[in-house]
């Protein structure tokens, strides 16, 4: 049994959603239940509701560090470790510490506190997660400098999403509940736009869904007693979707990739693109492969080239390796009567080889429009 403390993270899409407030509220509830709770570090940003929520909880005084003739204040890690409470509340996990302190980043301080057997509640915004930094920068046009490794969040025992709608957050901002009045117009013109917040909210929801997925029932035999029955009844891959688009090096395949990517976006799923090569690519095919590689890169998909003669068998192997839940193929070419008699069609072979996996045939929609007008 590990003596490490229990780590609970309050994750939000942006400043002002109420992460710190909720952390303090749960801290108050723990204190009322008789636990020894202290505030290790709190950044209330002058928000009256947050300050009020902190009342009554002991605060560890900040540590002062002199750096280049100025005095900086930061969390007092040695002070927390000396005080040894049962639970400590630490705001802003992604914060970079003042130079000269024990660690460069606050999440490293958190680790020391947890290692000392003290429980920690902490807060972080989704745009601070290292792996999402580029994606968030592309979505919002604003790059966040202070990041926290995904592993630090992944290792937490609980991740709780503090979620409000973009409209509600903007109303809070306009009402002066997030920033002082003089900062509101600039915030509205830059980061706090409905489209930015909606995109961040989606990222945050997905992140927590992935956390839930990764912490789902253990299947490695180390689960608690009684888990086995749950494992038996749980549908594998119930949350995480993964799409596999089967392509050939031809322009027609781009339609399959585009349609697959749009489905993957809707499902919040990863997309793999597979060409089963039964020969070396000629110059024309190589050109198409380069185009597919470029398309995969810009879409954030993964292009796989596997050698083999049987498309269904190779697709089965790849689907098993990568945890595929959907397979997409283009409309098969019409086949001659003799071939129809001698070998089942690819969709039939895939259905047989991939039980439990959805198969989708991507149609040429121009033909549907022609059908409508006929």
């Amino acid at each position: 049994m590990s003596n490490k403390g229990h780590h609970k993270i309050f994750l939000g899409m942006a400043a002002g959603v109420g992460k710190t407030y909720q952390m303090l509220r749960e801290g108050q509830a723990e204190a009322e239940n008789g636990r020894d709770v202290v505030i290790g570090y709190l950044e209330p940003h002058g928000r009256a509701e947050t300050v009020a929520q902190a009342e009554g909880i002991e605060t560890i005084p900040r540590r002062r560090v002199t750096y280049r003739d100025s005095v900086l204040e930061d969390m007092d890690l040695p002070g927390i470790l000396r005080r040894r409470p049962e639970l400590v509340l630490i705001d802003e996990l992604a914060h970079t510490n003042a130079p000269g302190l024990d660690h460069v980043k606050r999440y490293e301080d958190d680790d020391d506190v947890l290692d000392a057997g003290i429980d920690v509640f902490s807060t972080v915004n989704v745009q601070h997660l290292e792996s999402l930094n580029d994606q968030v920068a592309e979505l919002t046009g604003i790059r966040v400098r202070e990041t926290v490794p995904d592993a630090a969040v992944g290792a937490a025992d609980e991740v709780v999403l503090i979620d409000i709608t973009p409209q509600s957050l903007i109303e809070r901002l306009v009402a002066g509940k997030v920033y002082p009045a003089e900062r509101v117009p600039a915030a509205l013109n830059n980061f706090f736009k409905v489209e930015n917040l909606a995109a961040l909210r989606e990222v945050a929801l997905r992140q927590v869904a992935e956390e839930v997925e990764s912490k789902r029932i253990p299947v490695d035999g180390h689960g608690r007693p009684g888990d086995e029955r749950l494992i038996d009844t749980a549908a594998p891959g119930a949350v995480g979707e993964r799409l596999l688009a089967l392509v050939t090096p031809s322009p027609r395949s781009q339609r399959v990739v585009r349609r697959a990517w749009r489905s993957a976006q809707r499902l919040g799923a990863e997309l793999d693109i597979l060409w089963v090569a039964n020969h070396d690519a000629n110059a024309e095919e190589q050109e198409q492969l380069d185009a597919l590689r470029q398309l995969a890169s810009v879409l954030g998909a993964h292009l796989l080239i596997e050698h083999g003669d049987d498309v269904a068998a190779v697709a089965q192997r790849v689907a098993n390796d990568r945890g595929t839940t959907y397979v997409l193929i283009g409309t098969p070419e019409p086949r001659g009567a003799l071939r129809r008699l001698t070998k089942p069609a690819l969709p039939d072979r895939l259905l047989e080889a991939l039980p439990g996996i959805d198969l989708r045939i991507v149609a040429d929609r121009t033909k549907r429009m022609k059908g409508e007008s006929a």
């Binding site: 580029d134 994606q135 592309e138 781009q254 050109e287 470029q294 810009v298 954030g300 019409p334 429009m369």
Partner: protein, 209 residues
């Protein structure tokens, strides 16, 4: 014995006729192979919010006449704080329906199509990447109309200076944006003079691979 032989021969003859019939049936049932690509290629670069129907129609007419493949290229901008090879889901979500719309129009016109998305730090950089990476004989572009985010005069001048092959520049009208999901507007009458600024350059194939 003779009877058996006759029966076998008849059965074989029927089988051969049936197979031949099936092949003929398949041949006539098979749709026209619009997708077969041609060796001639017409590059059609565009950016989000500036896909001109008129320019696309012109590119399709040229491709149809020449038996060429249309290569629509969506130019995506990568901001400086991202690696140039970053995935761009937000821009791709704009590009996908536009490329679908172009492909549908091309298929209706019987023109093979081979789409691309090229990235760059800005519009011109993406254009440079496109002409460096793609094989093409001709480029068709829509110049920016007032207030639209298309190619401005400097872009066009840059293209004329740096791109090989023939370049056709069109000036779209204000209500000339192709909107994905909408059916094609009625075909225009005779070609409108004044909207096509054809700039003929060295006609050789610009093979840059």
């Amino acid at each position: 014995m003779t009877t058996v032989l006759i029966v076998v021969v008849v059965i074989l003859a029927v089988a051969v006729v049936a197979l031949a019939g099936a092949r003929v049936w398949d041949h006539f049932r098979r749709p026209a192979a619009v997708q077969a690509t041609s060796s001639r290629r017409i590059l059609f670069p565009f950016v989000a919010g500036a896909l001109s129907q008129r320019a696309l129609d012109a590119a399709l007419r040229l491709a149809k006449t020449e038996g060429a493949t249309l290569v629509p290229v969506f130019l995506a901008r990568v901001s400086l704080d991202l690696p140039l090879d970053s995935a761009l889901p937000r821009q791709c979500s704009m590009a996908m329906p536009l490329l679908e719309a172009v492909e549908q129009r091309a298929t209706e016109a019987g023109v093979p199509v081979d789409s691309r998305i090229d990235r760059g730090r800005n519009r011109r950089h993406a254009l440079r990447q496109a002409i460096a990476q793609e094989r093409y004989d001709r480029i068709v572009i829509a110049a920016a109309s007032e207030g639209s985010p298309g190619f401005d005069a400097e872009d066009v001048a840059w293209l004329l200076e740096h791109a090989a092959g023939e370049i056709v520049v069109l000036r779209p009208s204000e209500d000339d944006q192709l909107t994905p999901g909408l059916r094609r507007t009625p075909a225009r009458g005779p070609r409108q003079r004044g909207d096509v600024h054809g700039v003929s350059r060295a006609g050789e194939t610009a093979s840059s691979r």
